[in-house]
């Protein structure tokens, strides 16, 4: 199990009811982690519409996770 710090933006923050949380997870990749959290929070947004950043860099969904990683899920926003 890895301890991962997670940050949510925009519509994901609303659905999760929080901007950040820390989870203990066995998710191997960023994709696995999103799927796990999407089920828990009922995100309803497909992964393809989002981007994930790990430790302040945008990355592929296949990136393996390590303990202490900071993961940010970002949907595109359009308001102006």
């Amino acid at each position: 199990m890895n301890r991962i710090e997670i940050q949510y933006f925009a519509v994901l923050r609303e659905r999760a009811g929080t901007g950040r949380e820390t989870v203990e997870t066995s998710a191997a990749t960023a994709a696995d982690l999103y799927d796990e959290l999407a089920a828990r929070h009922d995100f309803g947004l497909p992964r393809g519409m989002l981007r994930v950043a790990v430790n302040d860099e945008f990355t592929d969904w296949s990136r393996p996770l390590a303990a202490g990683d900071r993961v940010v899920f970002i949907p595109p926003v359009a308001g102006g």
């Binding site: 519409m49 970002i74 308001g79 102006g80």
Partner: protein
């Protein structure tokens, strides 16, 4: 030599050059205007210039003084011929000495443009057929032949040039840039770079208002405003450039008036239209940089594709409730475009805009001010060594986060063919109706996808019985019928278009979006 003078004898550029040369300045730029042998299809044999000299000299001197102050050049002068001239004779001469070439060219251009525009000079042409005629003084002709910003007035009916009023106020207090010139990284040279720059702002709403205000206040030489909307009362809390008395007036026009009042050094062009696949390339052609300030993905991707094609830098921003994102694009090989970041172009309506999701005014104001700062950074060259990134801002927690972004190797944004084809749309997907009754009579079933609260204030004549709110569709609480003929309706036609596109991909063929939404019907 005098800053501005007339000569009835042939002009002597070498003498003027020597008189305006400055050994301490490294650059010199000059413009010469010659009598050409034709005008509007007629062959010209010779011509005569006549000026109202006492008035003209004062105005000419003022123009040269403005150029020196504005561009920080060391010396400048202009000489105009009067009397009878033959083909090939020199008609006007401008020379500028400056420490830097950019300012030399800019000041030279400014002087000749303003002289042609503002100085009362008349021209009589003698044609080879024996005929002759007085040609309008150039400043009268300016209305017909835009010389200020090249081809922008192809959209003549939709464009306005507020700079032409500048001379009425030439003796008013000068704009004072001393507090920004005081920055060692800016200085007079930086100020001249801003004065020589041109920026197109797409969208004059919550983001666009602070962008326009700060760029105009900073003395960016030329600003274009693209916005097809009128001011609505619900805009004012986040767009305080406008007032309650402006409701119903075109945003681009009101914004231009306010910016002109703020800084008369700045030339403003207005484009009262939405950015579309048809007009975007022509709109941004005459600008150095583009600021994307709209509230929908359609426009954002349109601008992103266009700046990639045109190799121009752009600054994007978006807000959602208490958060925002800023991204700078530069036409360099490793810099990502919007499509690199979001390969599946998101559909409008899925993640909310200000009308649907709600917003507090300072959120777009903060993000817009950040955009303006990124523009100034780029124009002043203060972004050397900066890596591409998406910056997220959360105004509740006051946290900002800089997420390093890279070029997506699968994005074909360098392939001109791929992008050129992108805007092509298949078949009519939007329909226009004058009234709601006409829409009902079309035989299509009208479906209102607005949220429940948006329907509460509908007048009795504008109610649509079939209601499938977008939030319920997106969350899967409601399903759209799999067959039938529909006209999808929302407030402004943005959400309905994205839903219609989605339904078409799901196999519904006879589904259309009401162009402009209910707002278009009401007006």
């Amino acid at each position: 030599m005098q800053a501005f003078s007339f000569s009835s004898a042939p002009l002597e550029p070498e003498r003027y050059h020597a008189a305006t040369e400055d050994r301490s300045a490294g650059g010199y730029a000059s413009f010469e205007g010659w009598v050409r042998d034709h005008n509007e299809g007629r062959t010209v044999e010779r011509l005569e210039y006549e000026a109202f000299e006492s008035l003209a000299i004062k105005e000419g001197e003022r123009i040269v003084a403005e150029a020196i102050a504005r561009f920080g050049v060391t010396r400048a002068a202009c000489v105009h011929r009067v009397g009878s001239l033959a083909i090939g004779d020199l008609a006007v001469w401008v020379g500028v000495s400056s420490a830097h070439r950019g300012e030399a060219f800019a000041a030279c251009r400014y002087i000749i443009d303003e002289v042609k525009h503002r100085v009362p000079i008349w021209k009589k042409e003698h044609y080879t057929d024996g005929d002759s005629g007085w040609v309008n003084c150039e400043r009268c002709a300016a209305a017909a032949h835009d010389h200020d910003h090249d081809h922008e007035h192809e959209h003549a009916h939709a464009s306005g040039d507020f700079a032409s009023h500048g001379h009425e106020h030439a003796e008013a207090t000068q704009h004072d840039y001393s507090r920004q010139i005081a920055l060692p990284e800016v200085g007079r040279a930086g100020q001249a770079k801003l004065a020589a720059a041109s920026v197109l702002v797409v969208g004059a709403g919550g983001l666009g208002v602070p962008v326009l205000q700060y760029l105009a206040a900073a003395g960016v030489g030329r600003i274009g405003i693209v916005d097809g909307d009128v001011v609505e009362a619900s805009n004012l809390h986040r767009q305080p450039l406008y007032g309650i008395a402006d409701v119903g007036r075109p945003k681009a026009v009101v914004a231009a008036e306010r910016l002109h009042a703020l800084n008369r050094d700045v030339r403003i062009a207005t484009h009262e239209a939405k950015a579309t696949a048809e007009n975007i390339d022509a709109l941004l052609k005459n600008y150095d940089l583009v600021v994307e300030c709209t509230d929908n993905f359609r426009a954002k991707f349109l601008v992103s594709d266009a700046v990639v094609r045109a190799l121009k830098p752009a600054v994007f921003a978006s807000v959602h409730q208490y958060e925002g994102q800023v991204q700078v694009y530069r036409p360099l090989p490793h810099w990502p475009c919007l499509r690199c970041l979001w390969p599946e172009a998101p559909r409008d309506g899925i993640v909310g805009n200000c009308a649907e999701a709600g917003v507090l005014g300072p959120v777009p104001a903060t993000l817009g001010a950040m955009q303006a700062m990124q523009v100034l950074k780029r124009l002043l060259g203060l972004d050397a060594g900066e890596a591409p990134a998406l910056v997220t801002v959360d105004l509740l927690s006051l946290e900002t986060r800089r997420l390093v972004a890279r070029r997506n190797p699968e994005c074909d944004h360098d392939d001109p063919g791929a992008l050129a084809q992108a805007p092509a749309a298949a078949g009519p997907i939007e329909l226009e109706f004058a009234t709601l009754a006409e829409a009902f009579e079309s035989g299509l079933e009208l479906v209102d996808i607005r949220e429940t609260w948006e329907r509460m204030h509908d007048p009795p004549g504008l109610q649509i019985p079939t209601h499938l709110p977008l939030s319920a569709l997106v969350n899967g609480y409601l399903q759209f019928p799999t067959e039938g003929r529909y006209l999808i309706v929302c407030a402004h036609g943005v959400r309905s278009l994205s839903v219609t596109e989605q339904l078409r991909t799901q196999g519904l063929t006879e589904v259309y979006s009401l162009r402009g939404g209910l707002a278009a019907l009401r007006s």
